[in-house]
């Protein structure tokens, strides 16, 4: 029988704490068929713009569509790589510079699958999820984040 997977909420209000990441890692110690974990963390950068310096990013999303799309991406990646686990967390709301706004976590028996799946997940999350970052500046203005 195939394992059935359902859409999960990937959004968290506010920054992702290092403690949450530690808890998520610790939760996998009972899965003794895992040999490697790959983790990507996005952190808010204090970019300098012509209009001012970034002090935070305020994230919004088309949540229903983003969750459907995230589910589709998860299914694709599970089909493509022999993974044991996959977790995606993306912040909403205002995240200050130095704080974590994206946490992608893949685990597999062997390292290659975990690493390649993690890379591909991050690319697809950035390209395909309807999420927007409003970069808040120290000049009290803002600019809309552009993904490269």
């Amino acid at each position: 029988m195939e394992k059935e997977r359902k859409p999960k909420n990937i959004f968290v209000q506010g920054p992702i704490s290092p403690e949450k990441i530690a808890q998520s890692i610790a939760n996998h110690s009972s899965k003794t068929d895992i040999g490697g974990h790959s983790i990507f963390l996005g952190q808010i950068r204090a970019d300098e713009k012509p209009e001012g310096n970034v002090i935070a990013i305020d994230y919004t999303a088309y949540e229903d569509m983003a969750l459907e799309k995230a589910f589709e991406i998860r299914e694709d990646i599970f089909e493509k790589y022999p993974l044991t686990c996959m977790h995606i967390y993306h912040s909403l709301g205002e995240i200050k510079v130095g704080e974590i706004c994206l946490f992608v976590f893949t685990s597999s028996k062997h390292r290659k699958a975990a690493m390649q799946a993690c890379d591909e997940l991050v690319e697809r999350i950035k390209a395909e999820l309807p999420v927007w970052g409003r970069e808040i500046l120290d000049t009290e203005g803002h600019v809309w984040k552009v993904n490269t």
Partner: protein, 79 residues
Amino acid sequence: MSQTIQIKAFGMIAEKIGSSDLSLDNPGTLKELRAQLESQFPDLVGVKFSFALNKKMQLADSEIPAGAEVALLPPFSGG
């Protein structure tokens, strides 16, 4: 084709429209909707955005089904 459609605007587009929710008479197609929005909100002229119909991206022109949820999506910038 004179039913009402629900429009959701996001990010920079919501900012330029001044609202994240609109009700409009269905103009029939996405191409016509874009023209109508640009006429009603001149700030949108030249601004890049895509459409989703009932949460699916629409890359080409499409008919807008009755009662559709139409989303105006500026380029994504998550992560």
